[in-house]
Each structure stands twice: as C-alpha cells, then as structure tokens.
Amino acid sequence: MDNPVIATPLNAAKIDTDGLTVAELGHTSKVNLRGDFSSSTVNNALTTLLGMESTLAPNAFVSNGASTLFWLGPNERLIYTDSDPETIASQWRDQVGTGAVDVSDYSTVLRLSGPKVRDVIVSGAPFDVHPDEFKVGQCAQTRFGNASILLSNHAETPVFQMQVRWSFAEYAFEYIKRVANYV
C-alpha cells in the first residue's frame, strides 16, 4: 500500500486578495482535555506531557512552540501539539483520570492575515474584534455565519486563526471569499 495522503477539508486552499490572505493550515494534531485545571494533578500532567502550565485566563491561549493550549471552558482545554495525540490522550487519562480525546480531524484551521481581516470576520461574527477588546493571546468561541468557530488573535499585524469543523470548512471558506470582495 502506498503512503496514504493526509487530507484536509480544503486541500490547503488559499485566498490571496487585496488586503486579505487566508491559508488552511496543514493537518494539526489536537487533543481535547478535561479536568480541574486548578488542581495539581492537572498541572503536573500538563508539565510532564506538554511542558506547559495550567494557569490560563478564560478566552486566552498560550503557546510554547511545540504546543498551544486554548481555553474552551472552565474544565475544558484544547491543545494543538507536535506530539502524538493518541499518546497524549491516553497518558492524560492515566495521569489525571478524566477525559481526553484525539480531535485532530474534527476541525481545520484557517490562518487569516492582512488589513481586511477584522472587517471580514465581523461580517459573519457578532463578536467584537477591535484590538482594544480582543488582544493578541486571546481566543473566543463564537460563530461565523452559521458555523461555530474558535477564533484566536496571534499578532498585531493582524494575524487571526479560525478553527472550524471539517464539515463546515468549505462553507466558512466560501463565506470569507465572498465577503472579502465586499469589505
């Protein structure tokens, strides 16, 4: 058997128009983690498994290069990681005794940059992305059109990431493409 192709929902599609660049990231390993993030058990697991700490404000994310940890809820985090997601998940279950699931394929990630980014996003999201309100290092689960998204702010230039479920990826991408002409 040949090496199987690792697909993403948009086959690495891109938008490159005046004021907006959008690119689908390649396959990214992701693990959904549950637990009491104020507990030492969780903190120890984060440290040993990922080299990270569990102190994370709501609607924020932190990265150490190899892994990025997103706040999803009071007892829920999402990790993007270079490590093997199945291994992380099973070790988490062993060490913490709570839930951990490999969700690498559940969603894809679009990276948006350029001066039009904010106008494009608020065309579909009822969420204020003004730099005073949504700063670098912050993330938010909201909606874009009818798609639930995880939005994160990565640089002041600006650079945003939009994580969207696999089955909604084409919808979100076409939505972005259409409004890019209008803003």
Binding site: Y106, V122, S123, H130, Y171, R178, V179
Partner: protein, 1005 residues
C-alpha cells in the same frame, strides 16, 4: 425650454455635470446632486404619481425620506424596485423611472373613477364589503390587489449582491445634522469609538436646505474633516438606522452603490446591512414638518414649507413661480423670504392673528403680502394647484367666514409645525411625553429602557434652532462618552450660528375648516396621503367606535404603508382628540415599529444568500461521490449521496440496482454524517443507563449495543449504536439529523441535574470518516485491506475491532442497518478519501457498488428497521414501534420511564408500527397515505393510521410499506383500506415489519 424651474444660480448641485433621465417615457435632464424629485420639479413636472385608493393625482410634498406621495417604479427588468421615493433617489445618468398606480397613464387614469365613487369607499370599506362569504375571498383579493396597489415586484432573480456586517462601538450617533455632528465630535474627542450615520448622501441634515448655504457648508466640512482623521470614528453616509432593538442593537441600511445606477457599482455590494451593537446611543434624528390639513390639500404643488426651502436652497429649483405660504408658526416665514429671493411672487397666509412686527416688516421689505387670521378654504386645479381661495378664520378656528379671496399660485408651502422624530427612541423601548410648547411628542428620558441607554439631542428632542441642536449635541456626546468611561471635551466643538427663523410660538390648528363641515361637499382633507385617509375617515371611525388609537390605525389604515405615517400620525391623533374632546396625550400614540424606512430583503440577507444561505456540510469523501456521479440529498445540513445513476438510469432504476447489489454481493455507503460522541469518565455507564431505555452495565469492552432515547414525554427522539471502548469509555452514535440535539441533551442533564457525575462528552462526528460495507462479500472485501482477524468467530456481530485498514488506523464496527453482513469502517477523517479509494479498488473483483441514502432506506425497510423522524414523529413510544424488547423491565429510572405508564401512553388502540402489503404488488403507496376505517364518497374519512415508509423492494420482489395503525399489532392478517388523493382506494394486508430474511440469518453470516 429645459429645466424651466431651475434657478440660474445657487444650490449644491454640480451644474457642470448634466444628467439625462427618463420618467414615464419622456426624456429630461438634471444635474449631479439632484434627486429624481428635484430634477422633475426643475423640469416643471409636479405630477409624479396616483394615490393608493382614489387614484388622485399626486406630487412630491417633501424633500426627504418622509415623502408619502412621490413613489415611483425605479428601473426595469431584474433591477426594478417598486415604491421608491423620488425624493430619496439620487439622480444618475440614464435613470429610468415610472409613476405607479395608474392605467393607462399618469395624466389619464381609469382608476380615478374611484375618486368619483369615494363616498362608497370610506374607512373600513374592505372590512365591511369583502367579509362574506369566506370562499369568495380569493376572488376579492385579486380585485383589491389590482385596484389598490402600489408598485410591481420584480419577477427576475435579483442580480445584485449585498453585504451584511456586525459592528461595535462605544457611541452610535444616529443622524448627521448639527446635533449629531456636534455629539460625534464631542464624544470622539474623548477617545470613544464612534459610528456616525446619516441617511443623506451628505452630512448636515437640515442645514443642507438653509439659505445660509455657504456658512453651513463650511461648518459641516470643518467638523467632518476632524472626524475623518480620527481612526476611532466611522462615518456612514447614505445609511439609515432602520431598527432599534434590545440592548442597543441597531440595524442600518447603507445604500452603497444605488446612486450609481444598476450594474455600475463594480465589485461593491449594492447595499450593506449594518448590525450595530453600541454601548451608548445618541439619537439626533431631527424632525419632520407637519402639513396643515385643509380642503384638497393633496393637489400636486402643495408641499411642506421646508421642502420648498430645500428645493430652492439645496437644489436650485423653484417649485412654483407663484407661491402661497400657509402656516401656523414662524418657521415658514424663512421659506417665504427664500422663495421671494428666488424670484417668486409670494403670499403668506397665517392662521394666527399675532404675527410679530419683526416678521411683518421682513415680509414688507420683500414685497410679500400677508393675511393674518386667514386660512386656505379650497384649492383649484386637479393635476396641479392653479389657485387657492382664502377666507378669514373664526376666533375659535372652527369655521371660515366672510369674503373668499382667490390667489393664483402653482405652489403652496404649508407648515403645521414640526414633529420630533422619536421613532428610534420609541423603538428602543422608551416612552414619549407631550410638549405643549411645540405641540408634539418628545422623548421622556425618565422612561427609557434600562438595557438600551441613549440620549436624544436636537430637533428630535424638540429643540429646533441650530444653536440649541449643537448645544444639546455636545452635551449628549459628552454624556455618552462619560458613560463608557471616556472624557469628552465640549470645547472640541466649534461654535456655529446660522441665520434662520425657528418655529417660535405655534398656534395648533389641526384641521383647517372650509365652508362645508368635514365629510360634506366634494373636498377632502387628507392627513395620510399615502393611504388616502382623510379627516372624514377619522370622524367615521370615531362614530363607529374605533376610538382607541390602535383601532383607529387598523380601521382607517392611517399611518400604515411604506411611509409609516411620518407626516400624518400626529395630525390624526389630534383630530381624534378633538372629536373626543380629550387632550392629545390622552389619545396616545401608536407603536413605532421597524423598519424606519423600507429595506430590501436582499440587504437583510446580506452575503448569506444562494449557497451561503444555509451551510452545506460535506464529508471527507464528498469529492469522490461527485466524481462518481452521485445525486445528492439534503439530510439536515448535510449533502449525502442519494443514489449513483449509471448511464441511462433514472432514480428508480439506480435504486433498484443498488439495493439488489448489496444483498447479492457488496455495497458501500458513506455513513460519516452519523453523529458520534465520545463518552468518558467513571460514571459513563450511569449516564447511558439514564438516557437509553435498555441495560448497559454488562456490555463487554469491544461490544456494541443498539439504544433508543426517549424524552420525558416517553416519546422516541433518537436512536443509535453505542460501543464500549474501555471500562469507562464509550463511542455513541446518533442519527444524522439528531447529532447536535443528542449532544445538548447529554450535556444538559450532566451539567444541570447530575453535575457530581464524572462524565465527559465530546463530539467526534467529524473526527471519523465512515464507510459502511454491506453484503455477503463484505467480509472478503474487508479481509483484503485489514490486519484484523475478520473470521466469524473472532469478530462476531455487534463487536468492534481496532486495527489497520488500507494501511491507516481504523475502528471497525460489525453492526448493520441493512440486515446484511456489514462492517462500518471508521478512520480519522484525514484518511477518508484514501479509504474510499482503497475500497473502490479492492472492491472491483466483488462488483462493489456505491449506494446512496435511498437504497439504504429500502434495505432497512426490508428489515423493518425504523428511521427516527420518518417512522416516528415525536408522538410514538417504544411500544408503539413494537419495540418492547428494548425497554428494560428492571431499571428503576431512565429518562422517559414514568411517561411509559401514563394513562395515555398505555391506553389501547394507540397507533402501532406494522407492515403493509398491497393487494396489487406493483402499487407503491404514497408515504403519508391514510388508512381509513371506512371508505366514503369523499373526504373526510375517519383515519386510523398512515403510511410512514413505502418502497418498491427488489429483494422482496414487490412493494412494501411500514405504517402506523391503531391497535396495529393485534390486526396482523387483516385487510385495510387506504384512500388516495385522486379518490381511488387500495387494499393492503397488515403484516409484521420484516419482509426479507425473517430469521435474521444473513446479518450473522
């Protein structure tokens, strides 16, 4: 002569840009900066349309968005738009417009006969005349719509594109006149994020129509320049706030390219719909002048005084060479002076007897004749004013007396005072109060809605001088900024004064008397021009008991239609107050409702049209299906292959072939859309025990079990197979359409009712791409691709094995929705495309057939497997579905348990699932067909059940159907009748629900 009414100089039009346009088939010219109305008036065209009910000739009475009369059909074909206000259409080269509501043409209109029979068309006419018999309504409706309509809707697909967007700000300023500009400037100075919007193409509001044009323009330009340089300020011109909703959520329509004409906007959207969330709002919406209500006050040429002033000062158009100004307040005197300065012969008629000597001397200096204590008692001319008669008013204003003077004129400029535009404040939830000094309602800030904080400033707050507008604007802007934690500076706003005559002391005269009492004689006193509602109609409504303001509105239709009574509402209230002998505030106001001005559906939809109207969810194998010729079906939001027609096949042939092939060899189905939920935690079993009707404790690791979910009414709401992956780890599947609902159901119970349970649910629907392979050769096919031992002994029915399939990690579930030997191969979604390609390749020697949802439906119906939502409808219990076997007899509690033994759920003769075999095996019953207790000549017939699923089954060699039938389980073997829509009747035998492989041998093969 072209543009005979155009003044030789003045106005802010660009005379270097001559534009050509067409109205009612005739060519005219105008200038850049004109509206369609100003250009028509410049050409001496006063007649612009016919009225709604009486088809009376009408012209523009206003110069802005309050215009009730001059509605035109703009452009043609797909670009046509009905009911556009000529006063708001910015003129562009090549514009084409038609007048509305006339046939065969505007000058001669057959419908005007309605005017002659007017006494038969009073208020409430439609209610009274067309109420009986009900069966005739269809006929009446056509007649009514033809006779009394406005413009014509386009029939072609809208070629334009639209954009919708959210926006957030600290302070939204609605209205860009002097108050709004001052408010925005003050608030922006403190660093607040501002949106300033105005419906006009230029900011300035009322200042744009003043005679002091140069001073006004330089003031506005100066202020705008500062605002434009501020990054925190967004200026939106051509943008109307259309609705004000809870928590300062304001929608606004921006006309982005309308002013360029059809298809001239390039890539830009035609319109943009703003959904603005503001922390604070400053309402600076201005005010609207009221007409005086005198006999035949609707004749073309009768206009609001400020409109006449605006046409002169802003557009350089004199609406008539002989002008009569008719007023009850001071503000119209400026219009008299402006008209005289423009060269008109002007006569002023004032209902008051105490005009100030200052105003009198100004008129004298300009040779303007003044009649104090007089009123217009009649108007001559039908397609345009030719002259007016004036008579002296009695002291009490109730009658006219003495000699009538006839004054020749082509324009009457009338002012009954000014009505603050409280629409936005009222829509925000605030209550209004009546201010005697201006004879109008103003916002009552003490009765604003707490969740929508706002400040009203300027004319919409009852302060009409430019100076007061600016002062209030500064104050409101500063307060709004302070409320969001910014410090505003009043000194940032430049002082400005303009020479103007404000409203001053007003002497309300709500109905101008004539020689006949109201309602007698031929003359009509219109207060609502757009709906043709007269003072006499209000009297009639009062006589018939419709005195409540909301009843008055519905009965007479006053204040309805596209203008929503902007010029008419207060006059109507006042007339009703007079009739009842009560004060205006005692009558009250009707509710102000969005939208403030009409907006298009296209704009409201924005970019979410066509393929973005609703999300089309696609599986990882979608492109492969497309390449293989799939016809798709919408299942929830998903696009699922319905069937795969081969050359020459119709749907029936394709489905029959696919269905046969599965039972003969092997077929594959994309099952990725099924909902999937990963469930972990030490209380996971407890959760399953509660949400399913059957037992879960003893399920072995690696084993699968079918489960049925009930709501607390005891009714089936979802089903699926759940597999134990580990001691405390399960993989649940749900129906495609029920995935989100089930996920929420689990989370709600866990978070609200059993928060102490340790269970973690995670949606993994899209994590897994799923191909189901079904058929006697499924095992052999799987064997070619996997390292899993697929022998019957080591991989039995209802178990799951992990391993590699086609070289990628997989979970294979041996479960079946067809009754065949079947495997559902789950691989991470990134390998979905790879899996289907590998199956296709390896399947060649087994004649592997891709099949769609329709064949899946036939296959499962052949086995009597239900589909939740097709065979169930939210009113059926497990017992009704003949599924007692899945309901635990030992569990004490599970969701829906108690409802199973309610009187109604355990009663006899509930509809129950059965099979039906038609007498004629070629007849496929329509789904939804009713089983009747007794066949009668015509419907209604007593129904005892209905068909839920029905197909031609190639494997059974005949048609089959599932149905629910009262007491059905006990009726097996009986013959029942099904009545068809066409009157025919089919007989069918009641059977069990399994039509193929009744012993269930194949699935365990």
């Amino acid at each position: 002569m072209s543009q005979p009414q155009r003044l030789s100089a003045g106005g802010s039009i660009d005379r270097s840009k001559l534009l050509s346009f067409m109205f009612d088939g005739r060519q005219y010219t105008g200038y850049q900066g004109d509206t369609l109305a100003s250009a028509l008036l410049a050409n001496g065209v006063r007649l612009m349309g016919r009225s709604f009910k009486y088809h009376r000739p009408r012209g523009a009475i206003a110069a802005g968005s309050e215009e009730p009369n001059a509605l035109v059909q703009l452009e043609t074909g797909a670009y046509t738009e009905p009911n556009t206000r000529a006063t708001c259409i910015e003129l562009y080269d090549g514009l084409v417009a038609k007048s509305q509501n006339r046939w065969p043409n505007l000058e001669f209109d057959v419908g005007a006969v309605n005017s002659l029979v007017a006494r038969f068309l009073p208020a409430g006419f439609y209610y009274k005349t067309f109420m009986w018999p009900a069966s005739m309504w269809m006929t009446y409706e056509k007649f009514i719509r033809k006779a009394a309509g406005l413009g014509v809707s386009p029939v072609d697909d809208d070629p334009d594109v639209y954009h919708g967007t959210y926006a957030h700000c600290d302070v939204l300023v609605i209205g860009g006149g002097p108050a709004g500009i001052a408010a925005a400037t003050a608030a922006a100075n403190g660093g607040a994020r501002i949106i300033l919007l105005d419906e006009g193409n230029d900011f300035g509001g009322g200042l744009l129509g003043t005679s002091d044009n140069a001073a006004s323009t330089s003031y506005i330009d100066g202020a705008l320049q500062v605002l434009e340089q501020n990054d925190n300020v967004r200026l939106l011109s051509r943008t109307t706030a259309t609705g004000y909703y809870d928590y300062n959520y304001i929608t606004a329509l921006e006309k982005v390219t309308d002013h360029l004409g059809p298809a001239n906007g390039g890539d830009a959207p035609r319109q943009r719909f703003w959904k603005i969330r503001a922390k604070q709002v400053v309402i600076a919406a201005g005010s609207i002048e009221r007409p005086l209500i005198f006999a035949d006050n609707d004749r073309p040429g009768v206009m609001l005084a400020n409109a006449v002033g605006t046409y002169i000062n802003r557009y350089g158009v004199l609406p008539g060479n002989d002008v009569v100004v008719f007023t009850n307040n001071d503000s119209a005197y400026q219009v008299a002076l402006d008209a005289a300065a423009a060269g008109a012969t002007v006569t002023t008629v004032d209902t008051r007897r105490n005009v100030s000597s200052e105003l009198k001397s100004k008129l004298e200096q300009n040779n303007i004749r003044l009649f104090e204590g007089h009123a217009i008692s009649s108007v001559q001319g039908s397609k345009g004013v030719e002259s007016v008669r004036i008579m002296q008013l009695s002291e009490d204003g109730e009658s006219v007396q003495g000699q009538a003077w006839e004054i020749v004129c082509t324009c009457v400029a009338t002012s009954g005072g000014w009505t603050p535009s409280c629409h936005m404040f009222s829509q925000s939830g605030g209550k209004l109060k009546y201010d005697e000094s201006i004879a109008g309602f103003i916002p009552d800030p003490s009765k604003a809605k707490v969740s929508s904080p706002n400040f009203s400033a300027g004319a919409c707050n009852g302060s009409f001088t430019t100076h007061a507008c600016i002062e209030q604007g500064i104050a409101a802007g500063a307060k709004a900024a302070a409320a969001v934690g910014k410090t505003a500076s009043a000194s940032s706003v430049n002082a400005f004064a303009v020479s103007e005559i404000a409203q001053g002391a007003i002497a309300p005269l709500w109905l101008v008397p004539t020689v006949h009492p109201v309602g007698e004689g031929k003359a009509k006193h219109f207060h609502d021009f757009q709906n043709d509602v007269t003072a006499a109609d209000i009297h009639l409504a009062a006589r018939e008991g419709f005195v409540s303001v909301e009843h008055l509105k519905r009965y007479t239709t006053t204040g309805m239609a596209t203008d929503q009574g902007k010029t008419s509402n207060l006059n109507a209230l006042a007339i009703m107050a007079n009739i009842q002998g009560v004060s205006i505030p005692e009558v009250g106001t009707t509710t102000f409702r969005p939208p403030y001005t009409p907006l298009t559906f296209g704009a409201v939809g924005g970019q979410e049209s066509r393929e973005l109207f609703i999300q089309e969810r696609k599986t990882p194998m979608h492109e492969h299906h497309v390449a293989n010729g799939a016809v798709f079906e919408d299942v929830g939001d998903w696009k699922r292959p319905w069937y795969f027609p081969q050359a020459g096949e119709d749907m029936h042939a394709a489905v029959q072939r696919e269905t046969l092939a599965v039972r003969e060899s092997v077929g594959m189905l994309d099952a990725s859309t099924l909902g999937k939920i990963d469930i972990q935690g030490k209380d996971a079993v407890k959760l399953l025990e509660m949400v399913y009707t059957n037992n879960w404790q003893k399920l072995a690791i690696g084993s699968c079990r079918y489960g049925l979910m009930l709501n607390e009414h005891g009714m089936i709401f979802d089903d699926g197979v759940t597999t134990r992956l580990g001691e405390n780890h399960f993989h649940m599947t749900t129906t495609t359409g029920g995935a989100a609902r089930v996920m929420s159901w689990l989370e709600e119970w866990l978070q609200t009712e059993w928060p102490e349970w340790e269970v973690y649910c995670t949606s993994v629907t899209e994590q897994w791409a799923v191909m189901a392979i079904n058929g006697p050769n499924a095992r052999d096919l799987l064997q070619e691709l996997t390292d899993i031992d697929v022998s019957k002994e080591s991989f039995p029915f209802m178990t799951m094995r992990e391993g590699s399939v086609a070289g990628v990690p997989a979970r294979v579930y041996r479960i079946s929705f067809t009754g065949e030997l079947s495997y559902e191969i789950n691989v991470p979604a990134r390998y979905g495309r790879h899996l289907i390609e590998a199956l296709t390749e390896a399947g060649k020697k087994y004649d592997l057939v891709p099949y769609g949802t329709e064949a899946m439906h036939v296959l499962r119906a052949e086995k009597g497997f239900i589909i939740v939502g097709q065979d169930t409808d939210g009113t059926v219990t497990p017992h009704d579905m003949d599924m007692d076997w899945i309901v635990s007899k030992t569990k004490e509690e599970y969701l829906g348990n108690r409802a199973q033994v309610r009187v109604d759920t355990k009663r006899d003769k509930r509809p129950q699932l059965i099979g039906l075999l038609t007498e004629d095996p070629t007849v496929v019953l329509p789904e939804g067909a009713h089983i009747v207790a007794e066949v009668l000549d015509k419907p209604p017939m007593p129904t005892i059940g209905h068909v839920t699923s029905s197909y031609m089954s190639p494997n059974a060699g005949r048609s089959i159907a599932l149905a629910v039938l009262q007491d059905g389980i006990n009726r097996k073997g009986e013959t029942v009748s099904l009545a068809m829509m066409d009157g025919s009747v089919h007989q069918a035998l009641v059977t069990d629900t399994v039509f193929v492989d009744k012993e269930g041998v194949r699935v365990r093969g």
